[in-house]
């Protein structure tokens, strides 16, 4: 087992270093063919906001060279309805579930985190996406306000191009692990409309590698999850080699579930020893 929250009393133990990234399988209810929760060590839900969001109208998807942009606009049924619909499923799963909490009004994330207390036995942790343009004190505040209200492990997802800049602040503020992270946003025109979103797909991987290398030199005392553009066992092993304790996929789950399943089968042989216990 890998512990993604070694300094947290609860810990966050995962049996495989492969994580289904935010939205890869919706709220754990949308599995592409041939994939099951057992393929993953951890499942992160789509981001949830305090109130429901319709997200943005079409178009939401644009293809770019070697990847795509997906702008859902934060489409989600809202905190209460997600819990009402899915807690039963999460309880049944063998794979631990981390709930991703999107921003919104100040206090929203803390409010949601506090309400997760009732289902602390079902939830393995909380993911906090750190927005692209925050400064250090804003990043710190996002984590600290949630840290204050919950003992659950916190995984902070950092923007890749600024991960090195933000990492230590996030750990100090109480993040148990860092997801590295969110690819940089870009834009593309499709039909007459524009889609603007973080880049997804293989195109994101070079940014992931750079951020991992930067963090490796910082010797942070927190496990790192590599995310962004991972497509193959080679990609995943390179991330583990660069100090990541686990690897997150999403685009691959959507585009090629069979390849994701193969990756899930093969990566089990490469559990990083330093983090197992």
């Amino acid at each position: 087992m890998i512990n993604l929250a070694p300094h947290n009393k609860l810990g966050l133990f995962i049996a495989s270093p492969l994580i289904a990234g935010s939205g890869a399988a919706g709220y754990g209810d949308a599995w592409p063919p041939g994939l099951t929760p057992e393929d993953f060590g951890l499942l992160i839900t789509s981001p949830i906001s305090a109130s429901p969001h319709k997200g943005r109208p079409q178009p939401r998807l644009a293809e770019i060279p070697a990847g795509f942009l997906l702008e859902t606009g934060g489409h989600n049924p809202g905190f209460r309805r997600v819990l009402a619909s899915h807690v039963k499923t999460w309880r049944r799963l063998e794979t631990p579930v981390v709930v991703s909490l999107a921003g919104g009004e100040p206090g929203d994330r803390a409010w949601m985190a506090a309400h997760l207390e009732d289902i602390e036995d079902v939830i393995a942790g909380i993911e906090l996406p750190i927005p692209e343009t925050v400064n250090l004190s804003e990043a710190s505040a996002i984590i600290a306000t949630v840290r204050r209200v919950t003992p659950l492990p916190i995984l902070a997802r950092l923007p890749l191009t600024r991960a090195a800049y933000l990492a230590r602040t996030c750990v100090v503020a109480g993040a148990d692990a860092l997801i590295v992270g969110a690819p940089p946003p870009a834009a593309w025109r499709t039909g007459g409309d524009w889609v603007e979103a973080p880049i997804s797909g293989p195109v994101a991987f070079p940014f992931t590698l750079r951020a991992l290398r930067q963090l490796q030199e910082m010797n942070l005392d927190a496990p790192i999850v590599a995310a962004g553009g991972v497509q193959s066992l080679d990609d995943a092993l390179l991330c583990l080699d660069l100090g990541a304790s686990a690897v997150q996929i999403r685009s691959l789950v959507w585009r090629d579930p069979a390849a994701a399943h193969r990756l899930a089968m093969n990566i089990r042989h490469f559990l990083p020893e330093k983090d197992s216990d």
């Binding site: 939205g23 919706g26 949308a30 795509f68 859902t72 195109v203």
Partner: protein, 256 residues
């Protein structure tokens, strides 16, 4: 939905249009008219997204897709792929057309390239003994479905924008003549036509009941599995994922 290989068995070329016949027994047995198949194109990572196809024929051991000439590099790759090559397919995506059990006379209405997606349904309905009328609208004769591709029992009406075949004009003009006959309608067209169709049905039958007309909401999918949210549109009273609820909807749901 499954992920499976499909072998290119044959290629038909008609002008700039290609039709590929693919062998994929496992997928074919699951596939209904109106459902989509997502095919990976290219080697490597560009283009990354699968291309969405609505098969124009479904047989026991395979299905066929149509490739009009366009600027897309994914479809260009398919146009050049060799016979015998295996394509990686995800499908079937979503819910297809359902032949209404209590109807006997089915009117199929197709517009432009979307008309071709009706072909499997037309053949299925004809073989099951329904009385089928197909009416299509295309820009010119070249785009329209050759009559020879239809079962002999099907009544076929053509409208072309340039008048090069059938009636000059659009599908709407055919409705007053055809609608009264039909006790079920199946359509593959754009939203503007669906609205016209809804109005025409209401005029003729006072109200548009659920179960009377089905319509294809044609779009491209990413995951096809309800996970990515790329396909959410305002339909059926909410913002719904077309890959789960569609791509075939009751016309009532499309219009409200």
């Amino acid at each position: 939905m499954i992920q499976t290989g499909a072998e290119i068995e044959a290629r038909e070329t008609s002008g700039a249009v290609q039709i590929l016949h693919l062998r994929a027994p496992e997928l074919a047995t699951r596939l209904s008219p109106g459902q989509a198949v997502l095919i990976q194109t290219g080697w490597g990572y560009d283009p990354y997204l699968r291309r969405t196809f609505y098969p124009i024929a479904i047989q026991e051991a395979g299905f066929s897709i149509r490739l009009p000439l366009d600027g897309d590099r994914g479809r260009a790759w398919l146009r050049l792929a060799r016979l015998g090559a295996r394509l990686d397919c995800l499908g079937p995506v979503g819910r297809g057309f359902a032949l209404p059990p209590h109807a006997r006379r089915i009117l199929c209405l197709g517009q432009g390239d979307a008309a071709w997606t009706l072909l499997p349904l037309v053949r299925q309905a004809a073989s099951q003994g329904y009385a089928v009328t197909l009416a299509t609208e295309t820009a010119t004769r070249r785009q329209s479905i050759p009559a020879a591709m239809l079962p002999i029992s099907v009544e076929y009406h053509i409208a072309t924008t340039d008048g090069s075949a059938g009636r000059k004009g659009d599908l709407r003009a055919l409705l007053p003549e055809l609608l009264p006959w039909a006790d079920a309608v199946i359509a593959a067209a754009d939203m503007a036509f669906y609205r016209q169709l809804g109005r025409a049905i209401e005029e003729m039958r006072v109200l548009l009941p659920k179960g009377y007309a089905q319509a294809l909401y044609q779009m491209d999918f990413l995951c096809g599995a309800g996970a990515c949210q790329a396909c959410a549109v305002d339909i059926a009273g909410g913002r719904r994922r077309v890959c789960l609820r569609g791509p075939v909807f009751d016309l009532v749901d499309i219009l409200r």
